[in-house]
Symmetry: none
Subunit: 226 residues, 2 copies
DNA sequence: TTAATCATTAAGAAATTGTTAAGCCCTGTT
DNA sequence: AACAGGGCTTAACAATTTCTTAATGATTAA
């Protein structure tokens, strides 16, 4: 979700603002364009995962734009959603015909919009993503599907933060992660937690996995040893 | 194709006869109903792979029926196609909204009808084995046909939501399903229910199956243990 | 040595889930 | 039409787990 780019295309600034605000609040990266032509330009640059297209627009309408976008290698596989006024019946069909993945009727309710978008993205993101079990060496296996870690035969289920911390460190054994890295990746950009918090979680992992698995480099960070 | 069951629903006997004849000729097993309500009854019994629904019908129109059918576990995954007169534009939209997979305009040309149906059925490679009974381990068997679960010898019949919840969790034992996952898969994309609803259903399942079968991972989700 | 950095521990905050009972809606019945 | 019953949801509060903090001790690099 952090890396999901959405391109909004509508000729009414009000609509752009409204959607933009709501989508950003959900953590998406949002770009905008006000007509079909500039939408295509922008799309080529930012490579959006999802494009929300108003059907009625000057210059080039949404349906035309959609067909174009489906032909460009950069945007061929993006999700495309149409925005349509509830009365423009035919356009909805035409939209699906033009290669859109969904359509959403105005007037828009933020809840509905967000949940449809989540749904679409969830469906699509799956393909590559995560393998179930990762063997990180040192007799330790991490299973992201069952949220479970097996160390030396024992199968233990870690609390969320510990699991994330271990996953992070073990994602690149030998690499040193600075405290700052760790904070950003696990707690997020603007969360503020005290200095000792990480240590405490490290401690618990050491208790559960053995003292030698995670090594401290003073003043630099932590690393997972194989 | 031999085992493909099609349910035809239309209030005009002529149309039923006409379609029935053409579909049977192609080797499909055909059932009929003349209104929405009886369509649902029949569908529960025959578990059709494809349902062809006229939009305009007495008692319960096709759109209503479609929504119902999408909510029943027995027919949730069936293909649903609407029949609409060419003039009723809006019904097409509403149909897709209600969860239909395609729509076909009257008047019908048998060739066209048959080839669309072939195409639809070809695309859908039966989701899961559709076998009646699935043994999910832990001494628990789920029978999707009779809507029944047997745990440790006991045979118990679960209410819909509980059954769906168990089916979902047990569909991949060991995998953690987040509350969001569960909500979307069982309640649908934009249905909003309170936070405690899932817990309550989980609770009832635990009462019936035993406390150890479903495990909570706080902040992450639930998983079914084998 | 000394200042900075990290480890350890226990306590309590915060977040999440469990539990219960009550209400609503639908269905079938009297 | 009134009623009974089951299923689903909600709301309030309890219980639990996880996370964070704070205080103190240990370690290390300069």
């Amino acid at each position: 979700m952090e890396n999901t780019r959405i391109l909004l295309v509508d000729d009414e600034p009000d609509v752009l603002d409204f959607l933009s605000y709501n989508l950003k609040k959900e953590g998406y990266e949002v770009f905008t364009a006000s007509d079909g032509k500039s939408a295509i330009q922008t799309a080529k640059k930012v490579l959006p995962n999802l494009i929300i297209l108003d059907v009625m627009m000057p210059e080039m309408d949404g349906i035309e734009a959609c067909k174009e976008l489906r032909n460009l290698p950069e945007t061929k596989n993006a999700l495309i959603v149409f925005l349509t006024a509830r009365t423009e019946d035919y356009s909805q069909i035409a939209g699906l015909d033009a290669g859109a993945d969904d359509y959403i009727s105005k007037p828009l309710k933020p809840r509905v919009l967000i949940s449809r978008i989540h749904a679409l993205l969830r469906r699509r993101i799956q393909p590559d993503g995560h393998l179930g079990v990762v063997d990180v060496g040192g007799g330790i296996k991490i299973n992201k599907e069952s949220y479970t870690v097996s160390a030396a035969g024992e199968e233990l289920s870690l609390p969320k933060k510990e699991f994330e911390l271990l996953s992070l460190l073990a994602s690149k054994p030998g690499k040193v992660f600075s405290r700052e890295d760790i904070l950003h990746k696990i707690w997020g950009e603007d969360v503020v937690v005290g200095d000792r918090t990480i240590d405490v979680h490290i401690r618990k992992l050491r208790q559960k996995l053995g003292e030698e698995k995670i090594k401290t480099l003073k003043g630099i960070g932590y690393k997972f040893e194989f």
